[in-house]
């Protein structure tokens, strides 16, 4: 059987950027990328690519199409899913996307995906490490009116049917639905595979298909943001740490315990 998977990925500011290098542009209410720290593919999105490639491992006639929308794409970064083994990539690159809200993101992604004929499965990371909106995948499932299966740690595909183990805090729920469907994943689906040399060579020969708003019948005027960002600030640390210092390290440890008891913390 042939199988078509769409994976949504996002290019984000490296979440390991040290706090000290983190700055905010107050006029634009946006984050200024730190000098010399390139963006990355969002962690859970890499897990989503891995989930798709696992299916491709078991169903060889699988096509994995990666879709990303945004602006200022760094090709070496965003093409990583291709080096991992994905077949195709579609990029919607539009300067307007810099300031768009996630509801518009949902609308655009849904529109791109619905133009990919015969998709069987959409896989998304559970949330992105930048704005952590964590509702675009659910939004896509509602917009396309397809089942939404959350937090998959295992995915099993049968003709016209998907079964997942969905992670809950103390175990899992086995969920089943018909296809096409949308699945969200986190790191529990498994470590993203490293690009192989062959994969990197193949990816270097692939050119992502670039689409503009016109190609997907989206007008900026159709996109009405539902929320407005009014304030973006560095967090205020209100904690003043009291350092316990004894005669030696062992003594400090003891003093710490006594202090916690005295402050009724333990």
């Amino acid at each position: 059987m042939s199988f078509n998977i769409v994976v949504c990925v996002k290019q984000v500011v490296d979440p390991d950027t040290p706090s000290a290098a983190f700055n905010i542009n107050q006029d634009k209410l946006s984050v200024i990328p730190a000098d010399g720290i390139p963006p990355v593919v969002n962690g859970y999105c890499e897990n989503a690519v891995e989930a798709a490639l696992k299916i491709k491992d078991s169903i060889p006639d699988t096509t994995v199409t990666v879709v990303s929308i945004g602006t200022n794409f760094i090709m070496d970064v965003i093409k990583k899913p291709l080096s991992m083994g994905a077949d195709k990539m579609i990029l919607v690159d539009d300067p307007n996307l810099e300031s768009l809200d996630p509801f518009s993101t949902t609308k655009i992604l849904s529109s791109v995906i619905s133009k990919i004929s015969d998709y069987d499965l959409i896989i998304c990371g559970q949330h992105a490490s930048d704005w952590d909106n964590a509702h675009v995948p659910m939004g896509i499932s509602e917009t396309l009116n397809i089942p939404c299966l959350n937090s998959a740690r295992e995915i099993d595909i049968k003709p016209n049917e998907i079964t997942i183990k969905s992670s809950i805090p103390d175990g899992y729920i086995t969920l089943k639905s018909s296809l096409p469907a949308l699945v969200t994943v986190s790191n529990e689906i498994g470590e993203p595979r490293y690009p192989t040399l062959k994969g990197i060579m193949q990816a270097s020969r692939k050119t992502p298909e670039k689409l503009s708003f016109e190609n997907i019948d989206i007008k900026i005027s159709d996109l009405s943001p539902k929320m407005t960002l009014v304030d973006l600030a560095l967090p205020v640390s209100n904690s003043k740490c009291e350092i316990l210092e004894g005669e030696d390290d062992a003594d400090s440890g003891k003093l710490l315990a006594l202090k916690l008891r005295e402050s009724k913390i333990i």
Partner: protein, 330 residues
């Protein structure tokens, strides 16, 4: 009517601890707007739960009933909420950022073409627009954003667990309990729940632990986690780990706390050899008290900790553990 609608989750026939938190947040908004807090709950619970919702601060309780709701089918919850919203037209919907709440909240917002703010740590009313201002950490806690809604119908807020304290139980409070007769389109239930499997884990689960002892790269290997476990056991707590630790294979990813991993908010979060990168802090900043043991005085963790020791954990931890054991015995 424009009331505040709260989705009260249940667990093992009783209210989930987040129900009180949502009502407290709902109360804050309702008291300012002069409207009511209405809690939606499934009927598969002990009868006392309905009154408890009122004692916690709800004005009305709507009881809904369906086999799929009892199984925890998210599709069923979204369809029921959709019908309730058509009937009572709420101004705000509040859910918790739990497995159920974060998915139901996001889905109902899109179903109703509304706005939704995920992972909120505070909510307040904008005096000018009378709409909600939602505060959320973004960029893994490196920044805090405040959003307003551009429309009322309704404003969906998904609240971070433990960001609000439940109100004290007030048994003198009165309110109404109403069983809602709602019919939903069964075709809208696309998910089939086959089974729920509880996995036996040793000790308490991370999300419920009152005390968590978390270890980082500074521990140098998997062995020291036994010592962390020893300390955690004294408190009936749990052990957690940073991403570096899990990536290195010292601990399973199920123990990972952070932006990728679990978000926890225990009373006491004791870190050993954790530098406090924002990626990690995003998973534990809701903790009531953060305690740090680290050999680097400049480590980020000391910015968020309330008490700490700068020193070699191999010497600090055993004496700390010993002293804690003695103190808790007496």
């Amino acid at each position: 009517m424009s009331d505040i609608l709260v989705l009260a989750e249940t667990e093992n026939n009783y209210l989930h601890s987040t129900a009180g938190e949502l009502i407290a947040a709902g109360r804050k908004l309702a008291d300012e707007l002069g409207n009511q807090v209405c809690a939606v709950i499934t009927d598969d619970v002990d009868e006392s739960s309905f009154k408890n919702l009122i004692h916690l601060g709800a004005d009305k309780v709507y009881v809904i009933s369906h086999a799929e709701l009892s199984k925890g089918n998210i599709d069923a919850f979204v369809s029921y909420l959709e019908q309730i919203c058509i009937q009572i037209n709420p101004n705000v919907i509040l859910t918790s950022r739990t497995y159920m709440g974060r998915n139901i909240g996001a889905r109902i917002a899109y179903r109703l073409e509304s706005g939704v703010a995920q992972d909120c740590i505070d909510v307040e009313i904008d005096k000018n627009s009378s709409r909600v201002i939602a505060t959320r950490p973004v960029y893994g806690g490196n920044a805090v954003a405040r959003f307003t809604f551009n429309q009322d119908d309704p404003q969906v807020i998904i609240l971070r667990v433990k960001s609000f304290d439940s109100n004290e139980i007030d048994t003198t409070r009165n309110g109404s309990i109403e069983k809602l007769n709602i019919s939903i389109d069964n075709d809208a239930i696309k998910l089939k729940l086959i089974e729920t499997v509880k996995e036996e884990s040793e000790g308490i689960r991370l999300e419920d632990a009152p005390v968590i002892v978390a270890g980082g790269r500074g521990l140098g290997g998997p062995e020291p986690f036994k010592q962390l476990e020893e300390l955690a056991n004294i408190f009936d707590g749990a052990v957690g780990a940073s991403r570096a630790v899990c990536d290195a294979g010292w601990m399973d990813h199920a123990f990972q706390i952070g932006l990728t991993g679990k978000q926890v908010a225990p009373d006491v979060y004791i870190t050993v050899g954790i530098s406090g990168a924002s990626q990690h802090m995003a998973g534990c900043l809701g903790s009531r008290n953060i305690i740090a043991i680290n050999n680097d005085a400049d480590a980020n963790i000391f910015k968020d900790a309330s008490y700490g020791v700068v020193g070699d954990w191999e010497k600090v931890l055993p004496s700390f553990t010993e002293a804690v054991r003695d103190l808790l015995k007496s």
